[in-house]
Symmetry: C2
Subunit: 458 residues, 2 copies
């Protein structure tokens, strides 16, 4: 049963036909992400195919004060998609047109439902790529909405740095463009950045103009193992502090390596490991490799293992991208809980050691991994979502980890977002600035119909 | 005479003593930037020394609905500082404390009045630098407020990319911090980016946390001349499209070179010129130089002239930084009018040629220069601010240049900002998104006391 008014249902049906559904299975699927959070079903799902259709839906919902929740690829990890106040989920996955690629300007415009893999497949022949890589095959709209980053951010930045402009449907149904195609602009408020990271609470993104990059002439990856997680992290810190422009620098603790071996059928040495990728001209890559090798050596790292061939690299990164599922699959019927903090890099080693101590005696499988070049790391837990005691245990570890990150100038979430999962930490992190966020939310979405209950605490 | 109430005057005097002034000379100086715009005097000037003093002043002004205008270094070019509705200018130049340098994290926190030269002098011994360089010795707060960039932006980004967080006094007098020290965060709305580029219309920035960079091992500069501006620009475009990470790539047309020679006592060849700077390890710089030299060659460039010694480089960039004054000084009692657009780089050549055509027969001295790696260029005019016909002539050229930039997806201002000078173009550029900016402004500053009359058209 949905709580939609017959009137609204009828209107949506008239516009969308079969592309409007109230089937419980579809609603359930749209009321959750990839994490342990209990689903909260929307009252209906609309599959939009154009900006206009999104605008029409928003207008109809606004007229009745019904919530709207944008749905990209559903890979969210912090309960962003739970329809805690009901409403209509607007699924954007059919808005998958690559509108334009400007090879000369290294930019492109895509509809919000385009996924990063789809985009990169399309770009490959042109010698271009889009670097932001959250592992999951997320939608570009969803990535903008969560201010996503991932493995390449240490070199290329996050969605914040790589979006030139957006087309957005506002809560009124009005459609605006937040900018043009210039690399930089000082013309007015930065609306682009306001919507990036707003998690669907201020408007629905329907098109995104992105920066692109030439595929580097040389790409090389390497794995390197350490006797302790501390050595691995200190190596990463030294690389950052020397400004070596590594393209990827990922920490996987020994627990994670064991899980990854099992899940992806690999035989990596079960040790605390850093995975690197280097991009550039042959000479530039060689120079980076030499510098990193020297640092690794100094920190007692060993067994540089190379993955120069594209297929070896792909295998490595695929295994890394599946780390979440590797941990979760260590246990029958488990769900993943991925905590995510980001700290100043000088604090990283200490934070990770403290997190490690917190994990001593944790009753569920857990592993540490991280985009350590940014000071960003995660703990993935495999939890039974029906076991209250277990959830409380993990919540306590999560809380200690977040509070420590905040105490050293870090953030409660480097890339996954607030959703519902981190909502209790927002004020701890931002203090009175949260009131300013609420003022902005109330001004742009006075009826609170855009993904209500997310980001901002009551 | 000022229009301040005796009550407000008395209160400000009680707090600030001599640091509150209503002297006409000081007010005049605070009611203008560096450009031709007619000054509009504030009613008084406060020299604040702490965030608290800024907050107190704002609270007092808010209580009477009196405007407040932040004043950094006064180098604005678009009439940002004109007190068109009167009010109090809050001069932040005495807030010049470098609060903290985190060499390990490549970041620092400074008070808003710290200038970029002061900061870089302070950082030099630590082997660090802050790259954003608008030529003028602007304040860090002012640079954040105008979303400034300059010569290094092609490599290091603009203020948008290089500010980690801000301390801001809101129109209510409340003080908020917009973020922490993590490199990235997905925790809530991007308030940092909202204040960057807001030109003092949403709040007054009192502290800024910045990203820093290690001083490159090798720095090399070079000048290269071309038979036509088209060749020079096409060279620049090719360098960008190949992704060569030049640190600076500046266009100076032959008219500018002549002016610069005269003003800075140099003997540069009077031709359309590109000035480059390369940063990196010796090998990386050599590689960049070789690639650029090949491109220059292909485009008929000649006479690569090197400036490897620090003093030669400094002389070169100082001359470039003085380009504005060089043009202005071509004429007695003239003022500068610097137009500023930014376009997708593939359009740059065409735009500059069209601009050149517009300048044919222009009755005042004018020269083209630009941060062409970003697609950003300026025309500097030396105008007589009392000559209406002349101002109309330049306004018409400016308008044609801006409208053309907008028509190819560019922006009406790449870095100088809107102020009052570009206010008529904001809606042309952003359409209905301007209404959204107005909603945000009204929500945050409902009494419209923060630098009223700037950015947003009536
Ligand atoms: C295995 C795995 C690994 C991951 N690794 C990373 C990582 O390394 N880095 C990282 O940043 N994230 C990571 N994530 C999290 C997730 O992939 C990102 O948050 C991603 O950006 C979500 O995109 P999506 O399209 O799936 O959005 P969804 O999950 O569909 O939605 C996420 C949020 O964005 C909103 N939204 C979606 N589309 C739009 C739109 N068009 N307009 C407005 N709002 C919209 C939704 O309402 C919701 O609030 C990972 C997830 C998984 C499952
Ligand atoms: C010769 C010359 C060359 C220039 N070249 C460049 C260039 O290459 N690139 C570029 O980007 N700009 C350039 N500019 C423009 C100017 O230097 C920049 O706009 C600079 O950022 C202004 O900083 P300021 O401290 O002088 O600010 P001001 O001129 O004092 O103020 C500018 C605006 O910012 C507001 N403001 C100042 N401080 C604060 C604060 N703390 N909080 C809130 N609002 C504040 C003011 O109210 C005003 O609206 C140039 C200017 C000159 C004169």
């Amino acid at each position: 049963m949905t709580h939609l008014s017959t009137e609204l249902s009828d209107k949506l049906r008239a516009i969308f036909g079969d592309r409007f559904s109230t089937s419980p299975a579809l609603r359930e699927q749209h009321g959750r992400g990839e994490s342990y959070h209990t689903a909260a079903m929307p009252d209906g799902v609309v599959f939009a195919e154009h900006t206009d259709e999104v605008a029409q839906t928003v207008r109809l919902c606004a007229a009745e004060g019904v919530p709207v929740i944008a749905f990209g690829a559903g890979t969210s990890l912090e309960g962003h998609l739970t329809a805690i106040c009901g409403g209509i989920s607007i699924d954007l996955s059919r808005m998958s047109l690559i509108v334009r690629v400007g090879a000369e300007d290294l930019d492109c415009t895509v509809e919000a439902g385009v996924t990063r893999e789809q985009l990169n497949t399309h770009l490959r022949d042109k010698g271009l790529f889009f670097p932001i890589d959250p592992g999951a095959n997320a939608s570009i709209g969803g990535m903008a909405a969560t201010r996503a980053s991932g493995t390449n951010a240490v070199r290329y930045g996050t969605m914040r740095e790589n979006v030139l402009s957006l087309t957005v449907v506002l809560p009124s149904g009005q459609v605006v463009r937040t900018g043009g195609r210039a690399r930089k602009s000082s013309a007015g408020y930065d609306l682009t950045r306001l919507f990036i990271g707003s998690e669907g609470t201020l408007g629905i993104i329907t098109e995104v103009t992105l920066r692109l990059y030439g595929i580097p002439e040389t790409i090389t990856a390497a794995l390197c193992s350490f006797a302790s997680v501390e050595q691995a992290v200190d190596t990463a810190i030294a690389v950052v502090q020397l400004g070596i422009p590594v393209a990827r620098m990922e920490l996987m603790d020994r627990g994670l390596i064991a899980a990854v071996n099992a899940y992806s059928n690999l035989t990596l040495k079960i040790e605390d490991t850093l995975a690197f990728e280097f991009h550039g001209s042959p000479a530039a890559v060689q120079e980076q490799v030499d510098m990193v090798a020297a640092i690794v050596d100094e920190h007692g790292g060993r067994d540089f293992e190379w993955a120069n061939a594209a297929e070896d690299r792909n295998r490595l990164w695929k295994a890394r991208h599946n780390a979440f599922y590797a941990v979760v699959s260590q246990r029958q019927n488990a769900k993943g809980w991925s905590s995510d903090v980001c700290v100043p890099v000088s604090e990283l080693s200490d934070c990770i050691l403290k997190t490690r101590a917190l994990l001593q005696g944790c009753s569920v499988p857990a592993a540490i991994l991280g985009h350590v070049g940014d000071g960003n790391y995660h703990v993935v837990f495999a939890v039974d979502p029906d076991n209250r005691a277990e959830l409380d245990e993990v919540a306590a570890i999560n809380k200690a980890m977040v509070l420590h990150a905040l105490s050293v100038g870090g953030t409660s979430t480097g890339e996954h977002g607030i959703g519902t999962g981190k909502i209790d930490y927002l004020r701890r992190e931002h203090g009175d600035a949260v009131d300013l966020m609420a003022v902005i939310k109330a001004a742009i979405d006075p009826m609170n119909i855009m993904n209500p209950g997310k980001i901002l605490p009551e």
